[in-house]
Structure formats: C-alpha cells, structure tokens
C-alpha cells in the first residue's frame, strides 16, 4: 500500500511538472516571444484555459502526501517554511497577473502585470528545481523527524546546509531551462504567427541548454548523493523512466529540426515525466533524505500513516483521478487548434 501511494504521489508530482510546467514556461519566455499587446494576449489565451487546473495537480499531490505520508508532509513543509511561503506568494502574484491583466485596457497596468507574470513564473521554476535538489541532497532531520532550513548558509552542499547551495542552485537553473524549453514548445504548438516563430527559435536554443545541463546536473547529483544511481541500476522502472526521458529529448530535437510542434510538445512532456519518474524510482523508499545518516531518513514506510486509511483513500482516488483526467481531456478538446488573442473584454 505504501509503495502504491509513493507511486501515486510521484506520478501526480510528475504530472504537475509536465502540466503546470508548460504554463510556467510560457510565463518565463513570454517577454521574449511576445512583444506587442496582442501577442502577449495570445500567450495568455494559450494557457488561460489550463493554468488553474494545472496548478490543482500541485494541491492534489500535496493532498495525496498529506493523507498517505503525514509525517513526511509535516516535516517537509514546515522544514522548508520560508521557501514554501515564497512559493505561495509567487503563485498568488502570478494568478492575479493572469486573471486581472486584460481586464483594464491601460498600457502601464498591463506592463506591470506582464512583469509580475514573467518574474513569478521564473522564480517558481527556480524554487521547484531547488526543492528537487534539496530532496536529492538531503535535509538535516533530527531524531524526531523534524528539521528547519535557512534559505542559505555557506553555499556548500555539506552540513549545515541551506535551501540554496551550489547544488540546489544548479538544479534550480536546470529546472528554469527545462520549464522554459517546455513552455516554448507548448507555445509553438498552440500559437501561430510571430509568436509561433519566436517560440520555435527560443525552443531550439533552450533545448540545447537543457541537453548540456542535464548531464552536468546528473553528475552533480551523484556527487551529493552517491546512493542514488546504484539504486537506479537495480530498478527496471527507474531505467525505463530514464529511457523515456532520453527518448523524449530525442523526439524534441527531431521535431524541432523537421517540424511538428505537437510532437515536440509530447516529447517534452515525456522528458519531464521521465526525469521525475527516474528520480523518484531511484530515490524509493526514501522520501526525505537525512544528511545526518540514512537511519534518520523518512521513508515511505516510516513516514506513512495507517494502512487501513490508505486503502480507503485508494478507493476514492480511483474514482476522482479519472474524473480529473476526463476534465483535462474535455478542456483540451474544447480549446483545440491555435489560440488567438481574444477581443478586448472577451478573454484573457
């Protein structure tokens, strides 16, 4: 049961990254690919029907962790207190920017929200990447299973660690590049005209950056967490996910060279799902790695709740999750085709 819920939580987080990743990425690249007001609104029209629902995957993944692994959630969220609150503030500013921007036809109003949208999207990508880095590197869990991390200490990846050090900053930059690249291929798929052309050009450059950074981050992960890759070699699921990531990035490059924007977007999704999936499968059963030794780590078995409760939760989860996927399919179906900037007062 704990294995199942570990997989569910990991899958939901991976879906969150692939889905909210494209609208975060669209926000990161929007200042570069969309210049006029109409172009900016084309970007917002492309992500408008999806962004809110995409963000719900984060809440839903958090909910899954809450019910299945209350010790992990309680320690993790309180230990990263500062980073979490900063993420909340960025989510707040970003949501308001998307929803309020086009209500008022004033150039200063819109320029201000464009900035908030791009800046918050950028910071969120870096924070999510750094969060991933923190999980890989580990946190200073005490015997009771609690920890507190400062935002930064001495930037080394050894105790006393901070949320940001050289390694987690590197994972943050990697996430920024990957989500920007993901957003660029999404915009290439969902827009036409100059935004489409610029998005494709941006995507080509950004995917080169991703392809360069990926092995660098992988090597650095091996340095800070030597147990990660031996774990991966023994697990078929981890290897399959890693192959999915490799296949995804190959598809992206082929499609970017030969055309086929939807294919590139699918490849990009496969890459993100593969990277998260491979990491989670290699990391298992650890959920919060302790820097003070493996005995202190919180795992799916030590951080979990009561099994009977998880069996109940699995029942409603198997009803609710397909519903969520059906809604997602309906929304994609209703908004199929290229997104066009709405008339004034008629949309995002």
């Amino acid at each position: 049961m704990f294995e199942t819920w570990y997989a569910i939580a990991a899958l939901m987080l991976a879906l969150y990254v692939a889905l909210d990743g494209f609208d975060l990425g669209a926000g990161i690249v929007s200042p570069f690919v969309a210049r006029s007001d109409t172009e900016r609104r084309q970007v917002l029209a492309a992500i408008g029907p999806y962004w809110d629902g995409n963000e719900v995957w984060l809440l839903a993944a958090g909910g899954a962790l809450f019910v299945a692994f209350p010790r992990v959630l309680a320690s993790g969220i309180s230990g990263f207190y500062f980073a979490i609150v900063l993420v909340l503030w960025c989510l707040l500013g970003r949501g308001i920017a998307i929803e309020f921007r086009s209500h008022v036809a004033d150039p200063l109003w819109r320029a201000a929200w464009d900035f908030v949208f791009a800046a918050a999207s950028t910071l969120l990508a870096v924070f999510f990447g750094a969060a991933f880095g923190n999980l890989m590197r580990g946190v200073p869990l005490d015997r009771e299973g609690w920890f507190a991390l400062a935002l930064f200490t001495d930037w080394s990846a050894r105790d006393p660690v901070g949320i940001l050090d050289w390694y987690t900053t590197l994972t943050g930059v990697f996430a920024l590049a990957a989500l920007a690249a993901h957003g660029a291929v999404f915009l290439a798929w969902k827009t036409d005209g100059p935004v489409h052309d610029r998005s494709r050009r941006a995507a080509r450059r950004l995917w080169v950056a991703v392809a360069v950074l990926w092995p660098v981050v992988t090597g650095a992960s091996q340095m800070v967490n030597p147990s990660l890759f031996p774990g991966m070699g023994r697990r078929g699921l981890a290897i399959a996910a890693a192959l999915l990531a490799v296949a995804g990035i190959v598809v992206v490059f082929v499609r970017l060279a030969r055309g086929g924007d939807f294919g590139a977007f699918l490849g990009s999704c496969a890459f993100l799902l593969g990277v998260i999936g491979a990491s989670a499968a290699s990391y298992f059963p650890v959920m919060l790695r302790a820097t003070g030794g493996d005995a202190l780590s919180l795992t799916a078995y030590t951080g979990g709740g009561d099994e009977a409760g998880l069996r109940v939760a699995l029942r409603w989860f198997l009803v609710g999750a397909p519903l969520a996927l059906i809604y997602l399919a309906v929304v994609f179906r209703l908004h199929r085709g290229k997104a066009v900037a709405a008339a004034e007062g008629e949309g995002y």
């Binding site: 809440l59 609150v85 009561d306």
Partner: protein, 452 residues
Amino acid sequence: MDDALVFHRLQFAFTIVYHYLFPQLTMGLALLIVIMKALGLRAGGERWNDAARFWIRIFGINFAVGVVTGIPMEFQFGTNWAKFSRYAGNVIGQTLAMEGLFAFFLESSFLSLLVWGERRLSKVGHFLAALALFLGSWISGYFIIATNAFMQYPAGHAVAADGTLRLVDFGAFVLSPWALVQYAHNMVAAVVTGAFVMAAVGAYYTLTGRHGPTAALFLRLGVTAGLVATLLVTLTGDRQAKMVARHQPAALAAMEGRFETGAHAGLVVIGQPNVAARRLDNPVVIPWALSFLAFGTFHAEVKGLDAFPPDAWPDNIELLYYAFHIMAGLGTILTVIALVGGLLWWAGRLERSRPMLWILMLAFPLPYIANTVGWMTAELGRQPWLVYGLFRTAHGASPTVHSGTVIFTLIGFCGLYLALGILFLFMIGREIAHGPGPLSPAVPRQAEPVHV
C-alpha cells in the same frame, strides 16, 4: 515555542478570515447564477442571461482572489501546524485531498468556459458550465466543512499505537451529523451574502436610475433568495446551537457569557463578560429562553463555565461571546430586512420604496460580517482544542518554525493582502460602474489601442 504559537494562530486567523470573504460570495453567487442561467434557457429569457453575464464577471474576479488566497490555507496545515498534520493527517488528509480531486479540478476546468465561453458554447452548454462551477464550489465547501467538523466533533477515528489518529470508519467521518448541520448552516449563510450583494447592486442602480430592467431582476432575485436563505440560516443555526449545547457545553457557556450552572437559563441579548469577576456586566436577558433553545424545555439545566476546569475554557471568552452575539444580532437584522423587502416586492412597491432601496444598498457588508463572526464563534468555541477533547491547539504548531519567522511571513501576508484588497475593490468598482449589458456583437469590436 509558546510565544510562536500566538503568531501561528494570528497568521492562520488573518489569512482564513481574509480568504473566506471571497468563497462566501462565489458559493452564494454560483447558486444564483445557475438560477439565472436556468431562467435564461426559457423562451424570452434573454434578460436573465444579461443579468447572469454581469454576475459571472463579478464571480470571476472573486473566484480568482479566492483561489490565490485559498492555496496558502492548504499549505499552512504543513508550514505552521506540522504537529497537527502529523497527528491527524491520516484522517483530515482524506477530506482535504478529496477536495482537490473532486472539487478543484471541476472548478478550474470549467471556470474559463463560464467566464469567457458564452459565445463559444450553446445556451445549454453555458448553463452546464455554470452548473459545474456551482457543483464544484459546493463540493469544495463540503469537504472543508467535513474537515472542520472533525476538529469540532471527532468521529470515525481511533488512536494508533504511536499516538496519532487513524481512520476506522470513513462514513462516520465524512458524513458526521456535525458536518451535515454545519454545512447546511454555512452554505445558506453564503447564499445570504450572494443575495444581499445582488440586491445591493440592484438597489444602487435603481436609486441612480440606471440599468432599470436588469436592476429590477437583481432586486427581485436578491430579495427573494435573501428571504429564503435568511430563514434557513435561522433554522440551521438553531440546529447547530443545539449540537454545540450537547457536545461543546463549555463553548456554549462562553458564547453566552454564562459563568454559573443552573436551570431556567436566560438568553443574553446584550452585556459585557467580566471574566476576572466571573459575571456578565449590565445583562439584558430573555428569561428561560436559553434552556428552551438549547434543550427544548424551559427548566433544562444549562452548564456555566463553573462546571469546567479553567484549562478547558475557551481561551478568548470575550471575543467568542461578542462574535456569537454579533452573528445572532446581524442574522436577526438581515432576516427583518429580507422580510420587509419581500413584502414590498410582493406588493409591487419595492422599486419605488426609496428608504428600502437605501437600506438594501447599504446592508451588503452585514452578511460578510455575520459569516466572519460565525466562523469565529465556531473556531474560538473549539479552543483550547485543535481536535475537540483530543488534541490541544498549544501542541499543534510546527516545532522548528520560530516566532521571528512567522512574524516575517505574517507581515508579508498583511502587505500582500492589503495590496490585493485595493486591487480587488478597484476591479469590482469598475465592473459596477460599467454595469450589465448585452453580449457584444459577434464581430469583435475594435480594441482600444494599447502600446506596450
């Protein structure tokens, strides 16, 4: 840690009170929008669609603020109340996760279709989008109430070997009688907010002689829905008070400023609790009424705070007392306003009665206050417990988050929410100044030139 506890509580109280200003309107409006869209499906119902269009825009702005202020609420269980999350996650994590899965996905998937999709969808399709938002927001409300109901009246749980809670009876937990009664009371109270806001805008337009026919619809729906909802609030509130009397007698004693146990208990109308002297100053009391309302007989004994050790008393008796009395007083005032408004409408004189229009226009803050102090009554009455009778609030805060950190984020929330509030009022003010109108012609009208 004790000094941090105050700030953990303050931050949660501030962010939840602020957050709930928005969902109470959107949950109430969602029902009224479904009614308007249903009336708009009939032949000749176009004017109802015009009315709905205006409220959908108001709904959209409120919904956006509700979403962005709601996300921090979910996370604060972990950031600020980590020990509580560890203790109760196996139980309350169920309802919180179900809210995401069954409500948030539904709402977020169909929100943009409701707000921007009228032209893209058929009439029935747009009605269905409104229905989806109504269902989503009311399902969301249920799971939050069920979570809170567990904290008020734990059911369906057992204590595991490690001292944390585990779920043993899902049905007893999710469908606890407390949850059902609290849900009914809370949701009709949200309809009161929606109805009074709608009536206030209708009254404003009527008094200023604008949007006459649509304003008449706002007044009509606002006053009738307000009348039904205020009466239901009274009924459900009575049921809830009886449950408090039975299961949280210390809370009832504090709500009433009742320090001494006894039969033939009077209902306090006004007075000031003097906790140090353990009495109510300047009391105005309806004799025997509390015994009757709480237990159905005039001679029933109602416990006072003297029946409980002081460490089981709610820790802010004065605030709890005032919150409860303001809620009850405003509930009465709102019912009277809705009754008089309903009578005038029935007599066909509502739109010409300037005093009543003034009252309706100015009354819209009252349901917001009533909803807020109603929740304060529930939450202050639950103290000193986080899970009633099982787990104290003092034991629930995050052990590694010190007061300096919480004060920092509390100040940040205050600043952000102040800015957000100003923006919100600006946006709503523009919509009300703009007013309702027909769907703009199918050919997109020329946009005002905007240079970025």
